[in-house]
């Protein structure tokens, strides 16, 4: 089976241990050819899908579980994702992005769709949120500490995150990593909804400029 590593021991290697799991790098493994694995899936080779699962499954499950916050539901998401990956592997277009990124986008989309559709948005509209006493909240934000150990995250985005104020950084990370909606972040931080929306919008803009 040339082209991708299918060694059964891979999943054991990526098993988390309490001391290092939070720091486990989530970078592309140079020894694993994600593109070749998807090509083989598209050609109907089930072993290639299993190799992807053994290799990336624990990290994908971790991403799903953080968003849906339930082990059984997260496994349902990963199940659906791999069924999806199997059927859609032929439509993966390497010119649009990395194969590995595509796997994560399939899982994240399913997880986000599930929480957005299932977890009815808390009805905090802009007016209600604006009526909250922003003043009190601002004091709390000033000493907001990092909610995520984000410095271990790979790639060029690290220094760009560094440039954001901690509270804005936390907004971005609560959204991306935990799948929280605007209103859930607002509740978590005790901040007005409109402010959270503006922070996220500006943070994305800043990240984009920094990464350009």
């Amino acid at each position: 089976m040339p082209g991708y590593a299918a060694a059964p021991g891979l999943s054991a290697r990526s098993a988390p241990t309490p001391s290092c799991s939070a720091r486990m790098p989530n970078r592309p493994d140079p020894d694993f050819d994600y593109n070749a694995a998807l090509e083989q899936c598209a050609a109907g080779r089930r072993a290639a899908l299993e190799a992807l699962y053994r290799h990336e499954g624990p990290r994908l499950l971790g991403v799903a579980q953080r968003i849906v916050r339930d082990r059984a539901r997260a496994e349902d998401i990963v199940h659906d994702a791999f069924v999806n990956i199997w059927h859609r592997a032929g439509s993966f277009d390497a010119t649009r992005g990395s194969a590995r990124g595509w796997l994560y986008s399939v899982v994240r989309n399913l997880a986000l769709n599930a929480v957005r559709d299932g977890r009815h948005e808390t009805a905090v509209d802009d007016d209600t949120a604006a009526a909250l006493d922003a003043r009190d909240a601002i004091d709390a934000w000033h000493d907001t500490r990092d909610a995520f150990d984000w410095r271990d995250s790979a790639g060029r985005i690290g220094p760009c995150l560094e440039q954001l104020e901690p509270v804005r950084r936390n907004c971005v990370l609560h959204a991306y990593v935990e799948g929280l909606s605007h209103s859930e972040i607002a509740q978590r931080l005790g901040a007005p909804l409109g402010t959270v929306k503006a922070w996220i919008k500006r943070s994305l803009k800043a990240l984009k400029e920094c990464l350009a």
Binding site: A15, S21, N26, Q65, E75, D80, G97, Y104, R156, L204
Partner: protein
């Protein structure tokens, strides 16, 4: 969709918030529906996915339970058995699928033959009684989706087995109707190409021969509560031993 045509800036904002996950359910559905046709939006989403991907490492890996891979493999086995069965039964009365909606008898005949074909296959089928529905396109009889359910489980799983496209301003709506019912009941809007689980808690238990179909409706769903658009895929529930 009624928004003015997007400038590159707010297209990029939309893509960024879509990937970040902060769009509301409705706006998310809107983007999901636009993506297959909107190359600029798709490119913006692709770029955001690559930008933010490193943040995935902040979620600690979780070792899947030992049963997860066998479950995935079993779903794929069952789907390919269903697809083969649907293709094997294509000639003859399978062509009359277009009329299944009205002709319960021919639908039942097709269902029974499909059940027979499936029973011959070594398909593992956990749970007491399982139902399976192959939804096929009425014109081409191409299987597009599979519905799976256990009798005891109060949900069905709808799994795509072929790619399909839905116009940006339209949505797929999922319907079911058992023989004795007055009319079809909506099971909600479905995203093309994505498997979905749907709770049936407000409906009576699944019946053999129960009709399932996907119709093309306005983006927010049928305005009347009944199917108004053309049938895209249709099939009837079959018991699988």
């Amino acid at each position: 969709m009624s928004a003015p045509s997007p400038t590159p800036d707010n297209l990029d904002e939309l893509a960024g918030e879509y990937v970040l996950g902060t769009l509301s359910a409705a706006r998310r559905r809107d983007v999901n529906a636009r993506l297959p046709h909107d190359a600029a939006l798709r490119a913006a989403v692709d770029r955001w996915e690559e930008r933010l991907l490193p943040l995935s490492s902040l979620a600690a890996p979780v070792e899947p339970s030992p049963g997860l891979w066998p479950r995935i493999a079993e779903t794929l086995d069952r789907q390919s058995a269903a697809r083969q069965a649907a293709q094997a039964t294509r000639p003859g009365w399978w062509d009359s699928l277009f009329f299944w909606r009205g002709a319960a008898a021919s639908g039942l005949a097709a269902a029974l033959v499909l059940a027979g074909t499936l029973a011959l296959r070594p398909t593992p089928a956990p749970g007491p009684v399982q139902y399976m529905v192959v939804l096929v396109a009425p014109q081409s009889q191409t299987p597009g989706w599979v519905v799976q359910a256990s009798a005891g489980q109060r949900e069905v799983q709808l799994v795509p087995i072929a790619a399909m496209q839905v116009p940006a301003d339209r949505a797929l709506e999922f319907w079911t109707k058992a023989d004795g019912w007055a009319g079809p009941v909506s099971l909600g809007l479905i995203k093309p190409g994505e498997p979905v689980r749907i709770a049936l808690d407000k409906l009576p238990p699944l019946e053999p021969n129960q009709l399932f179909e996907l119709t093309l409706e306005p983006a927010t769903g049928s305005p009347t509560g009944k199917p108004t658009g053309p049938i895209q895929f249709i099939g009837r529930a079959v018991k699988v031993m």
